[in-house]
Subunit: 216 residues, 2 copies
DNA sequence: AAGAATACTACATACTCATGCACTATTTGT
DNA sequence: ACAAATAGTGCATGAGTATGTAGTATTCTT
């Protein structure tokens, strides 16, 4: 994933003091370089050179102008190989799920422990995922049985139903879903029947449309 | 969540050397006590006293007798307030999902860095989630839109191709499309073959995703 | 303690879809 | 005028999907 000798990271952050703190910490390392730092998404795109690329982008959520969460899609389109870490003070699981559904690779809550941040940059650069503890718990909680969680379980659908609906809408085959969840193909059928009945759908396509409409 | 002055942790692990390593590390801390350590689920239940409780349980997956993943339900039933961390050498995302669907609070890959493990125990005790970096990435990846690789432009597709692609992505059947365009179903097939080839798709779903991505 | 609901597994059937091969009519380039 | 691409039709096969019916083990209700 690395294109140069360094891990290149960019940062979009309107708190200039905090940005400076991060840049100083990054510059103190030997393996990571901060090649771009801007206070807004608009400024970021403006300053990004035609073929410029990044390994990692630290993206604040609360920004003047376009928010980080909204800019994420645009950023991912321009920099498909850049791992984006959402970086915010907010421990908000709606934002957390939204970020991942839009392609983020990490969600870190801002803190002043720069060593921890640097460690997470290395983790990301090595193909790992970066999540702050509390957010990790929220993420895990999403899979827990009968726990209402952020990507709203549509009324009357349980954790597993919702999970299967999600995979279904991503286009996976029954066989693949069965293997992932370690149940039989007939087991998958069982859930899909249930989901279709609940949604009033009669095909993968209808179900997908309904799911997407209800979950953005 | 803590019931005593200490964080109490149990461990079920058949690798005695590894268990010893963990116990030693835990005993070296001031805040955590290892109150139970057994080499199998059966032994664990046998040695568990009537009202004994735990804050955290480190649960190996590969065990003689009942596997950790299967025992998890039984354990959660007996110890509903205990946070269970699956603890294994296997970086396997089927197991990962299964563990969380069954109520685990963490999934850590075994390593010899005991400081890291202790840190994770504290995280769990403070209501956080513990996941090893690679597993975190797998978990995050579950939410990612799975983007098929595709050409950057819809070039090379004629008016009729595009029209059919559009109808295809709206979910219409070949029969319906054939009737609408007044050609045979095989005619529709002919175009769809062409479209798939051009897009590098192999199913309606892939084609739809590519189409949507390229036309917004 | 009996019955109902839940969470599957299993088998069956018909339809849809992806793809390969063969054939033809029309258009287009040289 | 001839080759070759384009735009289909036709048939075949296997995989994937939707839906019905039935059975079992476990959990929840009363």
């Amino acid at each position: 994933m690395q294109k140069s000798d360094y891990i290149t990271v960019g940062i979009i952050e309107d708190d200039v003091a905090y940005m400076k703190q991060v840049r100083t910490a990054v510059d103190a390392t030997t393996a990571i370089r901060c090649t771009i730092g801007q206070p807004s998404i608009e400024d970021f795109f403006e300053s990004l050179k035609p073929y410029q690329d990044l390994d990692i982008l630290l993206l604040d959520i609360h920004l003047p102008g376009e928010s980080g969460i909204n800019g994420l899609l645009r950023i991912k389109k321009r920099l498909p190989n850049t791992a984006v870490i959402m970086h915010t003070v907010e421990e908000n699981d709606t934002l957390l799920f939204k970020a991942f559904l839009r392609g983020a690779e990490g969600y870190l809550v801002k803190e002043n422990d720069m060593d921890e941040l640097i460690k997470n940059l290395h983790i990301i650069a090595n193909g790992g995922g970066a999540i702050s503890p509390i957010m990790a718990r929220a993420l895990i909680g999403y899979f827990h049985p009968n726990t209402p969680s952020a990507p709203k379980k549509l009324e009357g659908l349980g954790t597993k139903d919702t999970q299967i609906l999600h995979m279904l809408s991503e286009g996976w085959t029954y066989k693949y879903i069965a293997k992932k969840l370690d149940i039989t193909v007939d087991g998958v059928r069982y859930y899909i029947r249930k989901i279709y009945k609940r949604l009033g759908a009669h095909s993968r396509h209808e179900a997908t449309k309904i799911y997407r409409r209800l979950s953005d």
